[in-house]
Every structure is written in C-alpha cells, then in structure tokens.
Amino acid sequence: MSDKKIATRDSYGAALVELAQEDENIVVLDADLAAATKTGMFKKAFPERFIDCGIAEANMLGVAAGLATTGKKVFASSFAMFAAGRAFEIIRNSIGYPHLKVNICATHAGISVGEDGATHQCNEDIALMRTIPGMTIINPSDDVETKACMKALLSYDGPAYVRLGRLAVPVINDHEDYNFEIGKGIELVSGNDITIVATGLMVAEALKAAETLKQDGINARVINIHTIKPLDKEIILKAAKETGVIVTAEEHNIIGGLGSAVSEVVCENSPIPVLKVGVNDVFGMSGPAVELLVKYGLTADNIVATCKKALTMK
C-alpha cells in the first residue's frame, strides 16, 4: 500500500478523458454536478460529447437509455443517492429491462460523503441495484481499480453500476500482477484462520486489519470483491471451506449489500458464520468523512474486533 491517496471519482474523471481519446463513441451525461462527479474533466476535453441534463436525474437516465439504443457508449453520472435512489425505477425499466449498455457511474456513495449529511450519504445503492436482473455492480477500491474497471466496461455488453467515492483513499493495487476482470474477486492476502471479504474503501481497512490480526497470531485471508454482482461465488465458497468463518466489510448498509450477497451464497452452499461490518441500518449524520467512518465502525479496528468475535463462533 502506497502513501498516495486518490478519490475514485478523480480516477473516474481522468479515465473518461483517457478512454475517450481512443473511442469516439463515448458520450458522458451529468446532472449539474460535473465539478463534483469529475465528469467536468471530460467536459473540458470533449465538450461536444458532454451532455449536461440539468438537475433532472430521471430524464438523464432515460436519455442515457435512448443514446445506448443507437450504439453510443454512455457514462451517466450523479451522486449515488440521486442516480440509484431517485432514478431507481427509470434504471430498472428503461435500462435494466431492455439490458442496455449504460454505465451509471455514481459518485459520493456511502457515509464518506461527510458534511452534507444523511440526505446525501447513500448506503442503499448496492442493495437497490442488486435487485435489478442483469445489472452489473462494481465498487472499486482505489484509483487503479477504477481505471481498470472503466476500461473493461468499454467492451462489456449490458448495464453497469459503478460506485465511486468522494474521499481520497489509499492506492492499494499499484503492483505489476494486478489483474482486473469483471466478476472476479482478488485474493490479496493468503491465510486460513478467517476470511475478510471487503469492497470499496474497506479493502484498505481489511488489509490493515489483517496485519493487526497477524500480530496476534491469526492468519486472515483478505479478498477484494470489486464486482458485487455477478459475485465471484467460487472465491467465496473456497474461502468458506478453507477458513470456516467470514467477516464482510463494506461502506453500505449491512442490509442488502456485500454482506448479504456473501451470506446468500454461503448459506446455500457451505453454511458457516458470516459477520458483517458496515453501516448498521441507521441514517448517517454530518461530519468530516474520516470521523464518520470511525463513528459508524468502518475501520480496521472494528474489523479486527469483529474477526475475534467471529473466531469464537467457528
């Protein structure tokens, strides 16, 4: 893990500019948040392919669907709350049902939005998007993963929801053997005592937690799940069999997100205890992002504590 910290929304903006140089079919939509979602970088570089839809997210996602029917590679952005939340039904009916190639790249997901408070902290988007048949959900953990997923999506056929963050997060995948494949989890640390399955900014916390556990003689396996749907069942079930207990970690409500997805797979195939670290079914509040992560238990320390509890259930 390097000391460098980059918000995945910044990686998204940079990737758009880079990819659009090669692919003139790329069209970017935003709903008056270009400066915050970082699509403004694309707007500056390719103004003729940037469509501001104004403060009208429902229409934006319908327009994205129409553009996709004509073969455009569409990236539509807003805050997670207003894309997945406000425009859920448009995503379901106009994009999901006809299985159109629209990339919904939602920034400001999770509690780490910070000071804007509960109305803007979307901890429900993964749950909402998971229930749409055929929807792919990617929650990148850092700069490298965000850029890799954007590239992969260019040749991917079907709707995708990419979850991006506002807060600068550590770069953890900047090594040569990093390989991104939609739907494939990545084992970052090997270990057979317990498995920590993490996604998004919680992957870095999981890595820290594994180091702490190691000092106590516990060898934790760490798996990065960047694609929540389709979920890599193989890597999860292998971990369930080999380590006997799983702790999930996500910056999302513990209901309906990664923890639920992992539990569903494990329960049906290889029942073992699965404990969840996440926002514990409450609304957030205003405050600096890092302080909020601590308040809601989205930390390496809480992962460690949850792992120790989980080990007693093994």
Binding site: V27, E48, R49, I51, C53, G54, A56, A58, N59, L61, G62, V63, A64, A65, G66, L67, A68, T69, T70, G71, K72, E89, I90, N93, S94, Y97, P98, H99
Partner: protein, 281 residues
Amino acid sequence: MDKTRKKELEILALKARMGIIEGVYNAKSGHPGGSLSCVDTLTYIYFNEINVDTKNPKWEGRDRFVLSKGHCAPALYSVLALKGFFPIEELKSLRKVGAMLQGHPDMKGTPGVDMSTGSLGQGISAACGMALSAKLSNKDYKVFAMLGDGEIQEGQVWEATMMAAHYKLDNLVAVVDNNGLQIDGRIDEVMSPNPITDKFAAFGWHVISIDAHNFDEIEAAFNEAKTVTGKPTVIVQKSFKGKGVSYMHDNVAWHGNAPSEEQYHIAMAELNEALEKVQAE
C-alpha cells in the same frame, strides 16, 4: 391528401382497430380505449412517414418510434403487424405466457419495437436520447414519440421537454394523444394538465393542434413539423378514447378492460361494416 391514399390509410386504420380488439379480446386484458384513440396517427406514421426496413428492423439509419404511452401496445403491435414486421396471427397471442407480444412494448422481443416502455413518462426521455444521438453523429434520422395526455402529469415528461428544447432537437416529433381520459376519470378532474398546448409552447416547442381522426390534418401536421428548425415539434391531437367502437367511445370504463364475447362480436361487426363502407367508396 390524395383520395386514394386517404382511402388506403382509412382501410389500414380500420384493420389496425380490428387487430387491437382481437388482441385484447384474446388476452382477456389490455388497453383498448387509448389504443383506439391513437391508432390513426400510428397508422399514418408507419405507412406514410417513418423510414424503416421490415426485413432489417435494427437498421441503424432507420427513423425511430417510441410509444411512451406503452399501455397502448395493442395499437403499435397491430400497426407493426400490418406493416409486415411479424405475422398478424401473432396479435392473438398478446399477453400470453411466452408470447412475443408482451403487455407493454419490449424492444428485445418484438421486431420493430425501438424502445421498451410502459412506465409512464419514460419513453419521451429515451426518444430525446435517440434524437440527441443523431445530432451528435450528424445523422439525419428522425424520432417520433407518442404520449398520453394523462401521462404528461409525470414530472419526467417536463424534464425531457425542457431538454429537447434546450438541445434544439428539431429531429424529434412528439404527439400528445389528447383523449381527455385517464384511469380515474377525466384528466381535468383527476389532475389537469391543461392548457397542454400553452405548456409545450412555454417550454420552447413548436406546437400544432389537430383532430386525431382526420388524415388530412395528420398529414398537414407532420408536413409542418418537417419545416421547423431549431426546436422540437409537438402535435397535440384531440382524440376520442375507444374511437371506432360505439360502446367504447369516450368512455373511461374502456381504459383497461377487455370485451366479453358478445362485446367482441359487436365491436368486430361495427368495424367490419365501417371497413366495407370505406372499401365501397
């Protein structure tokens, strides 16, 4: 309009009406009222206006049509079948398990359907996206969309309307089927969208008002739309729900009901009689 052409269109529209009744009767559910109110214009669009290839429904250069009032799928299916996208026999399988013709348009399953619609207010946004795509790529295809007058109560319609004017989508022609009825009653009693023409004009659209059941006026409207540059056009058409079937005429009870066997025979007899009359002229 040329007399022969007008007669041809009237015959096609009557056959399309019979297809609507056939489909809804066999399905034992569906929306005959609004299908019958918009079917003349759909017939005109598909037989006089739209540039499509029935042998290659996904041809990239085609004009697009979006039925934003997706519940009137029986009208669209009937016209698409008459046009030759699929056999007319398919109409009888409407809404049946495994059938090609879903209760609301499904672009993945039905040849000739350009957009999946049904949840009101969404089709017009997709139509904007299609029109915008043509502008971005310097292509000259056109996009047509059919909306219900009740449907325009959805806020998303006005988001799309604002956008179409902002981006000067003069390759987009929307039709508002103003039959004045929605499920709960008269539109001006449920939630008045009136005055419809003024609202579209205020949003920056070119507005044309016509009688929905008069092919001369329909033709004049679509011809006028072709001359408009720099803004989208809306044709607000005064129509009658259930038009062509006596007991359904302007009757809200027929928004989403299927006719009984007896009612089916009455409707088909009336439409047959009208057809024979036009053919004899």
